[in-house]
């Protein structure tokens, strides 16, 4: 068993080196890089999928938020409309009631005035009668003259009419 020179170059030895390097290259490529690249790619794929999913979720949430905002705005508007129409109706109704009340009051006032007038006329008439009979009685007592009551009454009524 001999030794080679410390520094020597041989075609065969270089060839064996090339061959060994090729085998090592294949080992590294197939047993190290291929599986690691596969795992890295799978992980990148998964991360991308997660990002995509998150993005989709976000878009959905945004759409829902928009929907909600819109419907809330709609509801507010509707509530406003309802309030306004109710207010309007209430105003109209209260005006109607007021008008009705006014009318009734006017009627009642008119009727009361009428009845007062009637009562007054009645009273005046009664007083007239009373005065007439009183006058006749006084006159008959004073004059002691036989005067027919009806003539006296007529004369006194004439008098009263003239007086007012």
């Amino acid at each position: 068993m001999g030794f080679q020179e410390f520094v020597n170059i041989g075609g065969w030895e270089v060839f064996v080196t090339l061959f060994n390097t090729l085998i090592t290259f294949l080992i590294v490529k197939i047993l190290l890089f291929k599986p690691v690249r596969k795992v890295l790619a799978a992980r990148a794929e998964e991360v991308k999928a997660m990002y995509d999913e998150a993005e989709a979720d976000r878009n959905e949430a945004e759409a829902m938020k928009k929907d909600y905002t819109e419907s809330i705005a709609n509801a507010k508007q509707k509530a406003n409309e309802i309030t306004q129409s109710a207010t309007r109706r209430a105003t109209v109704r209260s005006e109607e009631i007021l008008a009705e009340a006014n009318r009734q009051v006017q009627d009642m006032k008119k009727r009361a005035e009428q009845s007062i007038e009637q009562e007054r006329k009645k009273a005046i008439n009664e007083i007239k009668d009373e005065i007439a009979s009183l006058s006749v009685m006084i006159a008959s007592k004073v004059v002691e003259k036989d005067i027919k009551e009806d003539d006296h009454k007529r004369m006194i009524e004439d008098f009263i009419d003239k007086v007012g």
């Binding site: 080679q4 020179e5 998964e46």
Partner: protein, 234 residues
């Protein structure tokens, strides 16, 4: 008497004197088996959420991909496995000396083989980018008189790469061997009962000549490969 020898010749293939099976080859095969087992270990039971060893495998791939992107430009990741091959072979081939094996990279044939592959890649990429005529024309730039120098620089690339790597590791080997025998001589000269000097000092120097040198040379070789091939693509 100290001897620093080349790799041992174990036997000859088919008994042919031109086809020796050397220590370097055998050690390379041992290193290859180690790399094979390492790859199998690192990538066994891969999961979506990485455990420690899978994280190491992913980190190796990502670091080398990052280096390749940085030094060679985008879309060069098909070179990453070759860079890792060089790094693994070089580091483990050099560190074999820590396990009493002769360094695989302490043999010029190994580093020259790698450097020739790199040289082939450089030429292939130059032809692919500029066309064959463009590649030939590249030698006459900036002026035709530079042609011999350009050819020389093309040839010197693999030579310098291979000699740098081989020289560093083989130099370390020579220094370690010489120092060990010197320390042994010192111990026996002082009539020490145990070879005290050989005990700790070679370990400290081995830290540089075996560990540091092995790592830095593997890194330099890989970085140069990326830089040369990357610039050949432009």
């Amino acid at each position: 008497m100290v001897e620093v020898n080349g790799p041992k010749v174990y036997t000859y293939l088919f008994g042919n004197k031109a086809l020796p099976i050397t220590e370097t080859m055998v050690n390379y095969w041992i290193v290859m088996v180690f790399i094979l087992l390492l790859c199998l270990f690192l990538t066994s039971k891969m999961e979506k959420i990485p455990k420690a060893k899978q994280a190491v495998a992913e980190k190796i791939v990502m670091i080398v991909d990052g280096l390749v992107d940085q030094n060679m430009g985008k879309n060069c990741r098909q070179y990453s496995p070759f860079i890792v091959t060089l790094m693994f072979s070089s580091v483990f081939g050099s560190l074999a000396s820590m396990f009493t094996l002769r360094s695989v990279t302490g043999d010029l044939n190994t580093t020259l083989g790698w450097a020739l592959i790199v040289s082939g890649m450089i030429i292939y990429n130059k032809i692919k980018t500029n066309g064959f005529v463009g590649f030939l024309k590249g030698f006459t730039e900036p002026i035709w008189i530079m042609t011999p120098l350009n050819i020389l620089s093309e040839v010197s690339t693999p030579v310098s790469m291979s000699f740098r790597h081989f020289g560093n590791i083989a130099g370390g080997l020579v220094i370690s061997t010489l120092m060990l025998s010197a320390l042994s001589a010192l111990s026996s000269a002082l009539n020490l009962p145990i070879p005290l000097f050989q005990l700790g000092i070679p370990g400290v120097t081995g830290l540089y000549f075996d560990l540091f040198s092995a790592c830095i040379q593997a890194f330099i070789f890989s970085m140069l490969t990326m830089a040369y091939v990357g610039s050949a693509k432009e």
